[in-house]
Structures are given as structure tokens and as C-alpha cells.
């Protein structure tokens, strides 16, 4: 289990023409085994693709097994003995809360490729903490906005009874103007939703919005399709992403979901990214892969501009976000969280593959609700 893969992300390809660029050492702690490993693997693979052939970046990768205590040990090791300059990779908000504040307090940069807990966007924000993905509420807020603007009157909202689940429901309600028919809190890790599905059917709602990450969403969607319920379904991309659509199958067809990226998004570089990822790994990229890829591009752009030993210059170079994100326009807000457009996608079948098709923007230039609390 002690996966320790130390890899030089670069070959001995020709040195970059700009002689000023210094090497930066990046420590990636992500989930590569246990439940939810698919997300970490996608982030890692996207990142590796972005920095392939770039010898400014030296990468150390470790597996946190989705356990906060292991993530903390690995972070200590990376900071004290590996002496990394920048850390990245954490998928889960509870792990991020255990690692990020300590890392930034010790003067390290942390660039989040996934987790965006509200605490780190608001009061706990830090000049050395950058989030390249989204604040946790973003997909839910965009979904609430889309539902209000598309004539959805009554909604059942459902999420697991834990902090990110409560945030999801709060986020959805923040922009939803219709009526909440019912709020359903499930157990975290619940696999059987027969009771909830019966409640949804009896509620008379127009739509059910649910946030059930990973295996929970797979179970719910398969059972929902078999129940004969016909209430429209919507969720964040976490429940309908490439990694899990294969396991849900046709049961997900027609479902709307919100994301900041889609593989058919028509922006420069995106088609190349999708093709390169497929060629390299033999599968379609997910939003997590796109986030890992953008994280790699961001670090490469900052490394080309500034020496990491000069923290102020490197911070400024990160904040500029001078790279072509595969999501299109991207910039950092005052709290170093993204200002970006969140889209609505629909699950369709292309040939034999169940995947997402872009429908349109749900919330343009969307930032988060916590920036006002951030003093830095």
C-alpha cells in the first residue's frame, strides 16, 4: 500500500529557452487506492499530461487512501524531508481541511485541483492557497439558478447528512426561487434508496436535485430508473461524470447536470486535451481530469514566469492565471477562487458510450458567496 512513486515529470528534452526558469518541486497527495480512487487517478493523469515534457516541474506523488491522518503524515513528510515548494492533489474537503491550513502556514503554496470547502474560501482564506477547480457550492448554485430560470416549480433536494451535503442543499437553495417540496438527508455511504425514492414519488415535485458523490449516486440512479418514478432528475457533475456514467449505464440518459467543463466545450485547446488524454490513457477524460490538467498548466505557467524561491513573485504569477484553461475563460477572484462559467450538460449516448453533451451556460462569470468574508 505504501505507494511511493517518485517521478521526474520531464525527460532530458531540450531545456526551455528561457534560462531564468528554476525547477519547482511539486508534492501531490491524492487518493489512489480505496473508495473514490477513480477521482484521484483522473486528477493525477490530467496533471501528468499537462506537465509532460516540462522539466521545470519535479513531481512527487503519494496516496492518501482517502484518510485524513495519512494525508497529514504525507504532508509533513513532503514539507520536511522532500522539501517541496508547492502542494496539490487533495480530492476530499475533510482531507483538505486537515492539510491545507498547516501547509500554507509553513509558507508552502497549495493549489487545489478539486476540494473547495467554504472555510478556505471565506474566513480561512490564505494568499498561498489557490483553488483551480471551484468552490464546493458552485455547481449547486448554478443548478438552482438554472432550475428557477427553466420553469421548475417544486423540487425535492437530497444529500447525505454531512457538511458537504448540507452545503449542497444550501447552495441550491441560495439561487432557487421556486418551492422546496421536501428536503431528504440520507446516511453518508448509503447504498439503498428505495425509501427515499418512494418519498420522491409521493411528493408531487417537478424535479429531484441530488448530491450523492461516488458510489452513492450510482446506486440511487440505477434504483430510480427501475422504480418507475418519472420526476425529472438533476445533479452536480459529481454524480454524472465520465468515471461513473459507465457504471450507471442507460439509466442516466437525459439527466441534466452542472459542471464548469465538458468534453465538447468549444474553447481553444479543449479538443486537443480530450484527444491527447484519450490517446494517452485510453478513456474519456472526466471533470477531475480536466481539473488536474488545468492545475498542471497553471503551475507550469507560473514556473515559467517566476522563481519559486521569490514567494511574492511566484504568488503574483499564479494569481495572473496566464494559461489557456480547457474550460475557457478563467481568472481568480479576490479570495483566489475561480471566477468562471458553470454549464449545464445532458447525459446522452454517443455510439456505445454514455457521456455528457453540453447544453449551455447555467451561471456566467460565477464566483462564490464567501469572498466577502476573506480578509487577506
Amino acid at each position: 500500500m505504501k505507494l511511493h512513486s517518485l517521478m521526474l515529470a520531464a525527460g532530458l528534452a531540450a531545456t526551455a529557452s528561457m534560462g531564468m526558469a528554476e525547477k519547482i518541486k511539486v508534492g501531490m497527495i491524492t487518493t489512489l487506492s480505496g473508495g473514490g480512487a477513480g477521482l484521484g487517478i483522473d486528477v493525477r493523469d490530467g496533471f501528468l499530461l499537462a506537465v509532460k515534457g516540462n522539466d521545470d516541474i519535479e513531481l512527487v506523488i503519494e496516496d492518501d487512501q482517502r484518510k485524513p491522518e495519512i494525508a497529514v503524515q504525507l504532508a509533513d513528510k513532503m514539507i520536511q524531508s522532500e522539501k517541496v515548494d508547492v502542494m496539490t492533489g487533495i480530492i476530499w474537503s475533510n482531507l483538505a481541511m486537515a492539510v491545507v491550513p498547516a501547509a500554507t502556514a509553513q509558507g508552502k503554496f497549495y493549489v487545489s485541483p478539486n476540494a473547495g470547502p467554504s472555510a478556505l474560501a471565506g474566513k480561512g482564506c490564505h494568499p498561498n492557497y489557490f483553488n483551480v477547480a471551484w468552490q464546493n457550492d458552485a455547481y449547486h448554485e448554478a443548478a438552482g439558478k438554472w432550475a428557477s430560470e427553466n420553469g421548475v416549480g417544486k423540487v425535492v433536494v437530497m444529500a447525505p447528512n454531512y457538511p458537504a451535503g448540507k452545503d449542497a442543499i444550501t447552495g441550491f437553495k441560495r439561487f432557487f426561487t421556486g418551492e422546496i417540496a421536501d428536503e431528504v438527508y440520507t446516511k453518508l455511504g448509503q447504498q439503498d434508496y428505495a425509501a427515499e425514492i418512494a418519498q420522491i414519488r409521493a411528493s408531487g415535485a417537478d424535479m429531484v436535485y441530488y448530491f450523492l458523490p461516488g458510489g452513492m449516486g450510482i446506486s440511487f440512479m440505477k434504483q430510480y430508473a427501475g422504480s418507475g418514478a418519472d420526476v425529472q432528475v438533476m445533479g452536480p457533475a459529481f454524480s454524472f461524470d465520465q468515471g461513473i456514467l459507465g457504471a450507471i449505464g442507460d439509466a442516466a440518459l437525459g439527466v441534466k447536470n452542472t459542471a464548469h467543463w465538458s468534453k465538447d466545450l468549444d474553447v481553444p485547446g479543449n479538443a486537443d486535451f480530450v484527444a491527447a488524454f484519450q490517446a494517452e490513457y485510453g478513456r474519456l477524460p472526466s471533470v477531475y481530469a480536466a481539473q488536474g490538467f488545468d492545475t498542471g498548466l497553471l503551475l507550469a505557467s507560473a514556473a515559467a514566469k517566476a522563481d519559486v524561491a521569490d514567494a511574492d513573485a511566484f504568488r503574483a504569477a499564479l494569481k495572473e492565471a496566464d494559461f489557456q484553461s480547457v474550460r475557457g475563460e478563467f481568472s481568480f477572484g479576490a479570495n483566489n477562487h475561480p471566477v468562471q462559467t458553470i454549464y449545464v450538460r445532458e447525459v446522452v449516448k454517443e455510439g456505445d458510450v454514455v457521456t455528457n453533451k453540453l447544453l449551455g451556460a447555467a451561471a456566467e462569470n460565477h464566483s462564490d458567496a464567501y469572498a466577502a468574508d476573506c480578509k487577506m
Binding site: 438527508y185 440505477k222 461513473i244
Partner: protein, 306 residues
């Protein structure tokens, strides 16, 4: 809440209960006959689900998938018994827990090695995909009715096996006095392998049946394992009858608690926080049930003296 909805929820609780029974039956048999705490029972459940998903993908037949799940889990159980578990019978429970926990890690990483980190696809057979209308106008998924039916059939089969057959007599004798049946000329090591494989096959069947409506992924067995332990503690360790009653009690308590408790708290507080409190109490309900049973019957509902 309407009566129809309540009946539907009772069916849901029943279905959850019989699924738990398939898991708990093997666990309680193995504990009863061999005195072994097998934490890796959840891994055998996972083996069944993965074998079913792989077979269904290759052949497209759900029946073959179920057969494959039974065979794969029984084979995995027998191999594990012969190579590892056999050495643990004379050790104390702590050694058994450590060794079978190690087996969980081996099974999880081995499965990831073979099948990768992403969940596999396994769907219910097309003939059972939709709902059926029950008397009284309840629409209920056909596949869940199948689970209830199969669970009850397996329960009946197990009762007959244990009460009417020679193997059953040996199993019961093994529960009563392990040394004595060895002395009476029963090949005890063969009996142990057989019981272990039987328990594993039941877990594999549960994994395959449930995998079709839930997700087939690494680590899927452990949450169910915990519930199965609750079931056998409530029912009385070693008792098949106890496992059956305990499983139905846990299934019904969990399902109905999740539905009724939020409604109950809504009588006292405003809706949004009632949902939160209700959901929180509901997730404790089965453990409260277990504690309650243990207060009045410390060896469980059908447990003998320890």
C-alpha cells in the same frame, strides 16, 4: 403518510432485511461452528458482485452471472479457508481479527489490480427492469420482489439443510461441541471448509443480487459487514433463526426509521431542522435497537449461554 406508501416502505424494509440475512447467515454459521470472527466476509460479498459483473459483461446473461457469483465466492472462501483461516481456529479472537482484516486489504487491492479503480457496470435483467403493480395499486420494482423471493427461498433452504440433512446434523453438533464431533469420526476439517464455502457463497449471492441495483466497487462489502455483525449480535451469535429475525428487524427499523422519524420530529420543530434531526436519529436507530436487545437478552434474541 398514506397507507400505500407505508406498505411500500415495509416492503423496502423487508427487502433490505433478507439481503442482510444472506450476509449474516454465513457470518453466524462460521462463528457458530468454528468460533471464528471473519472480517473478510464483506470481501466475499465483493467477490460475488465483481464475478457477476464480469460474467454479465461477457455473456449478457444474468442467470449465468448469479451462478458465477456463487461459484467464485465459494471458491474464494474455500481457498481462503484452506490457506489462511485453518491456521487461526486455535488462536484467540484478536489474532483472527488481525488476520482477516489483512485479508480485506488483500482482496481490495487484488480486485483493484484486476478490475481497476472505477466502479463496474451490472444492471438488473431487462425482464425485471420495471415496476410491477401489486394488489392495492402499489407500484413496486420487480427486481426487489425477486430479491425478497430469493432471500426467503434461501432462508427456507437453509432451515431444511440444517434441520433435515446429515450435513445439518454435523453443523449443529459442531456448534454444540467441536472436539466431540471430531472424536466421533466426522472429518472436521472437511466440514469446516464446507461451512466456510457455504457462507461465502451466500455472501457472494448477496453481493451479486445487490450489485445490480447498487454500485459494484472496491470496498462495497465493509458497510454491509458492519450491519451483518449488528444482525448476528441482535439475533444471537451462531443462530440461523436469530440471524433471520435479526435481519428483518434491522431492515425494517432502518428503513421505517429513516422515513418516519423526520415526520415525527416535524411535529415539534420546523420542517428543515426536523429533517436533519430525524435523519441523524434514524442513522442511530439500529444501534439503539441493538443496545436495547442486549440489555434484556445479553446473548441476543436466540443466543444460547456463552
Amino acid at each position: 403518510m398514506s397507507t400505500l406508501l407505508l406498505i411500500e416502505q415495509v416492503l423496502n424494509g423487508l427487502q433490505f432485511g433478507v439481503m442482510l440475512f444472506l450476509m449474516a447467515a454465513g457470518l453466524t454459521l462460521i462463528f457458530g461452528v468454528m468460533g471464528l470472527i471473519n472480517l473478510a466476509h464483506g470481501s466475499l460479498y465483493m467477490v460475488g458482485a465483481f464475478a457477476a459483473a464480469a460474467t454479465a459483461a461477457a455473456t449478457g446473461s444474468f442467470v449465468l452471472a448469479l451462478v458465477a457469483a456463487l461459484i467464485a465466492a465459494a471458491a474464494a472462501g474455500a481457498i481462503v479457508e484452506l490457506t489462511v483461516i485453518r491456521r487461526l481456529y486455535d488462536r484467540d479472537h484478536l489474532d483472527q481479527v488481525l488476520a482477516t482484516f489483512a485479508l480485506i486489504l488483500v482482496f481490495s487491492e487484488g480486485t483493484r489490480w484486476i478490475f481497476g479503480s472505477f466502479p463496474l457496470y451490472l444492471d438488473v435483467p431487462a425482464a425485471l427492469a420495471g415496476p410491477v403493480t401489486l394488489p392495492g395499486g402499489i407500484e413496486y420494482p420487480a427486481y426487489r420482489l425477486l430479491i425478497i423471493g430469493m432471500g426467503l427461498a434461501v432462508a427456507a433452504g437453509l432451515f431444511l439443510l440444517i434441520s433435515r440433512t446429515r450435513i445439518g446434523i454435523q453443523i449443529r453438533a459442531g456448534e454444540a461441541d467441536r472436539e466431540m464431533i471430531g472424536a466421533l469420526g466426522v472429518d472436521i476439517s472437511k466440514l469446516y471448509t464446507l461451512v466456510f464455502a457455504l457462507g461465502a457463497a451466500l455472501a457472494g449471492l448477496a453481493g451479486a443480487l445487490v450489485g445490480a441495483i447498487q454500485s459494484v466497487q472496491v470496498g462495497m462489502g465493509e458497510p454491509v459487514l458492519i450491519l451483518a455483525f449488528v444482525v448476528i449480535v441482535i439475533g444471537g451469535i451462531g443462530s440461523i433463526k436469530g440471524a433471520f429475525v435479526g435481519a428483518l428487524l434491522v431492515g425494517l427499523t432502518d428503513t421505517l426509521g429513516g422515513v418516519l422519524l423526520p415526520e415525527f420530529f416535524a411535529l415539534f420543530t420546523e420542517a428543515s431542522s426536523a429533517k436533519l434531526i430525524g435523519a441523524s436519529v434514524a442513522s442511530m436507530a439500529i444501534y439503539i435497537l441493538m443496545a436495547g436487545v442486549l440489555i434484556f437478552k445479553p446473548t441476543g434474541l436466540f443466543g444460547g449461554q456463552t
